[in-house]
């Protein structure tokens, strides 16, 4: 069990004024599955009224609209959470996580690779030990096969495209892992969130094994432990954007993201 | 995505303006056409200057036909009627299908006139349809604010044409008085200063000497239009 304190700041700057800027944020920790939120706050800049909702995947949403002209918008998320994976109870899942989603569609090259590496349905239906072994081996192989190269892929890059290029960022690594797991008959989820340290948001994959979700981080080649905090969970990135907005104005935008998370005394 | 969609009230106002403009322009063109048969050619250059519109034409005859029927000439009557239709078509539930059908028929007749042999005869039917439209609106648009917003459009356009073209200028004071009544019933916000100036000039508008002031006041009268 760990107690984590985080800060997560995002600022979007526009090259000119925009208005009627409606947005949906997913930048608050997601309670449940081992996470207890002890304290959390969200400050908007400029100050705005927000509505709080949950989406179909149970993610915390902050919904609002900045109508007046503005050339920057910021949101600052702060809080303290307790992560205790031993309290992650068995749960039923929605079958959506079994099937390919827009960004996790698989192709023949990936299938050939899976066959060669032995990631078939049998590998994931053998003994519990063997299943976890296959799960970790998959994460490790993706880690070793892929080059981490920011700027080579975009938010619209599919698992198959990133796989073909053999490079990408954490999002692409996670998409490939999710795609392979589903193809092998294992329900899988994409997770975006924070990891202890500082920098930007991170993404990893989860597999549904023995009634529980287990995470693996193919980018950092490690099992997901109590230093990871999910912000949003979905079929792929498109279900989990930290911010989705729509506004009036023909402008360029630059997004700056900075997060810190550290372990603190309970 | 920076163009704001016109509100229904705006559209009602512009519908009124375009309908009025079509009627006045047809009236002027029928007269001009008649004169051009055996009297003097139409002074279309002055006409265009007064209206502040482009004039890519060389002869009076060419101008009259194009000004009436050329859909590619954005200032033509057929285009103006088209703008009326564009506003009417999105107001069906406000003005009623019955009223809209008269605009539709005016458009249909105008199009057949454009390709017909005796266009001037058919123009009369276009005007008939537009007057039927006005009568129908009076009857079918039950919401007072909506009804008067269209009428404000008629008045503003009529006054504008009077001043610009010296058209029926002796009726200008009457029309100004009419506008004064009509604008009490529209939700459109008005420019207080311009309204005061206009009311001051109303009893004796004298457009020959007050042309610019009058035009500025009447065209800028409604803030939202």
């Amino acid at each position: 069990m760990k107690t984590l304190e985080y800060t997560f700041d995002t600022t979007i700057e526009f090259s000119g004024n925009v208005r009627e800027h409606a947005f949906v944020l997913r930048c608050l920790p997601r309670a449940g599955e081992g996470v207890t939120v002890l304290k959390s706050s969200l400050e908007m800049e400029p100050e705005l009224r927000l509505s709080w909702q949950h989406d179909s995947f149970g993610n915390e949403l902050a919904v609002g609209c900045a109508r007046e002209p503005h050339d920057r918008i910021g949101y600052h998320s702060r809080g303290v959470v307790r992560v205790d994976l031993s309290s992650n109870r068995a749960m039923l899942i929605h079958p959506l996580f079994k099937y390919p989603s827009p960004l996790t569609i698989i192709d023949d090259d990936m299938r050939a690779w899976m066959a060669e590496a032995g990631f078939n349905k049998e590998a994931f239906t053998a003994s519990t030990v063997a299943r976890f072994e296959a799960f970790e081996r998959l994460g490790k192989m993706i880690h070793e096969m892929m080059a981490y190269e920011p700027g080579t892929t975009s938010i619209a890059t599919t698992a198959a495209e990133a796989f073909a290029a053999r490079r990408g960022v954490c999002q692409d690594f996670a998409h490939i892992m999710v795609a392979v797991l589903r193809e092998a008959g294992v329900p899988a989820r994409y997770v975006s969130g924070l990891v202890v340290g500082e920098g930007t948001t991170h993404a990893w994959a989860q597999a549904y094994v023995d009634g529980r979700w287990h995470g693996y981080d193919p980018t950092r080649n490690t099992r997901v432990d109590e230093t990871y905090l999910p912000l949003a969970i979905g079929r792929d990135w498109s279900d989990c954007p930290v911010e989705r907005g729509s506004f009036w104005g023909l402008v360029d935008q630059t997004q700056t993201v900075f997060m810190t998370m550290k372990e603190v005394d309970a | 995505m920076d163009s704001e969609i016109l509100s229904k009230t705006n559209r009602l106002f512009w519908l009124g303006r375009y309908v009025e403009r079509t009627i006045v322009e047809i009236d002027i063109m029928m007269d001009a056409y008649d004169r051009a048969i055996d009297r003097e050619p139409f002074d279309f250059r002055t006409f265009c200057e007064q209206l502040e519109i482009e004039c890519p034409y060389e002869t009076s005859d060419e101008f009259i036909l194009s000004f009436l029927f050329d859909e590619d000439y954005p200032c033509s009557v057929i285009s103006t009627l088209g703008y009326a239709y564009d506003n009417a078509i999105v107001l069906r539930e406000v003005i009623s299908s019955a009223s809209l059908s008269y605009i539709q028929m005016a458009v249909n007749i105008m199009q057949s006139a454009a390709s017909g042999v005796a266009p001037m005869l058919e123009l009369q039917s276009v005007v008939d349809m537009l007057y039927a439209f006005r009568g129908c609106c009076d009857d079918r648009v039950l919401d007072t604010a909506n009804r008067y917003t269209i009428k404000c459009g008629y008045s503003v356009e009529y006054i504008d044409m009077c001043i610009r073209l010296n058209y029926h200028v002796h009726t200008l004071d009457v029309e100004l008085a009419r506008l004064q009544t009509r604008l009490q019933n529209t939700p459109m916000r008005r420019d207080g200063k311009r309204l005061m100036a206009l009311l001051g000039l109303a009893p004796n508008p004298d457009p020959a000497s007050n042309r610019e002031l009058l035009l500025d006041c009447v065209e800028g009268l409604f803030l939202d239009a």
Partner: protein
Amino acid sequence: MQDLVAHTARINDQLARYGVKFGIYKDGTFNERLFPFDAIARVIDAKDWALLEQGLAQRVRALNAFLADIYGPREIIQDGIVPEDFAISSPGYLAPCVGIMPPKGIYSHISGIDLVQARDGSWYVLEDNLRIPSGASYPLISRDICRRCSPETFRNNDIVDNRNYGAMLREVMDNVNRGGINVIFTPGRYNAAYFEHSYLAEQAGAILAEAGDLYVEDERVYYKSFEGDQRVGAIYRRVSDEYMDPTCFLPESVIGIPNLMSAYRAGNVALLNAPGNGAADDKGIYYFVPRMVEYYLDEKPLLHNAPTYLPMFDDDLAYVMDHFEDLVIKDTAEAGGYGVVFAGTLPSEAREDLRDKVRTNPRRWIAQEIIDFCELPVHLAEGDVPRKADLRAFVLTGRETRVWPSGLTRYSREEGNAIVNSSQGGGFKDTWILKS
């Protein structure tokens, strides 16, 4: 009827007067053209109609139950009636709608069910349209005009008046209204069905609104007006799901209402029809509708599907491969009469091509027996000619599920052609239901 038919030219003049148009995009430009009307109505007698009415209402009740189930507990999947992958990985199944219960639990308020009548008189359902079925306005306005042209026809025949559609629509909207005005939300006047949007707004006493007229604040929808902004309680939206809210569906949509889904999620506005209905009117899910009737209602289905095969099932695939030339092959990824192919009419190379496609991607296709459906007479200057015709029935779900006593009868443009979709150049007829 002959008296009415004699007025054909006058009726068409009247339709032109009211701008009864159908928009069509060709080579990238938008053209509106008149929707050809044929004065010879389709006549359905009272006995036939009673069966259709019950069968259609039954079908729509089952489809509504199915939608509530698959976006909720998914019992029909757990009970093995509908295969899970088939329901869940359908492109019409929208993840953002999972777990949202629409007001009063109604998903499909306005359903358009397409039927044909076989030569032996029996009716077959060809397609369910639960997203934004269009077409009710055409028989509605043409009835008005026909009655004016030939009052005798309507005095001498006992025809059920169909001009209550606006009132029915209003009742359907009022029933789910969450407080505020009723709005018909149109993509704009360059939409193919704009005439219908504006006409139905007038008939139902609703406000016609475009994207810029509506906005969301604090989980509520408002309509902008000069007299102050008005709360919106129900939206009959004629914008498709993916364009409805750029913060939830396609981000590039400029015809949507940003954050609309937040108001819907909070239960503050009814959307007619509910987003996500594509999960139940998929050309493939159609196969299972009679089973839904039995499963949810515990009733025998009163209406039949055209015999259909799903190549994803091995037995069906074998049958389809053996009888390929005799079947209609439908692409589940297309709509509006596109992607429907009579395999027997294809040149052999194209046919083998299609056969390969079906074999390699069976989930995408369905195959149907060709129903030799009735032809109806269509009046032309040189005399009446027979044309294939279908019927789109409109089923409205308000406090209860009711069938509009009329419908859109569409006929094909050419002889022998069995595709009657209006985007393919056909015309329409009024549909008369007889009182006895």
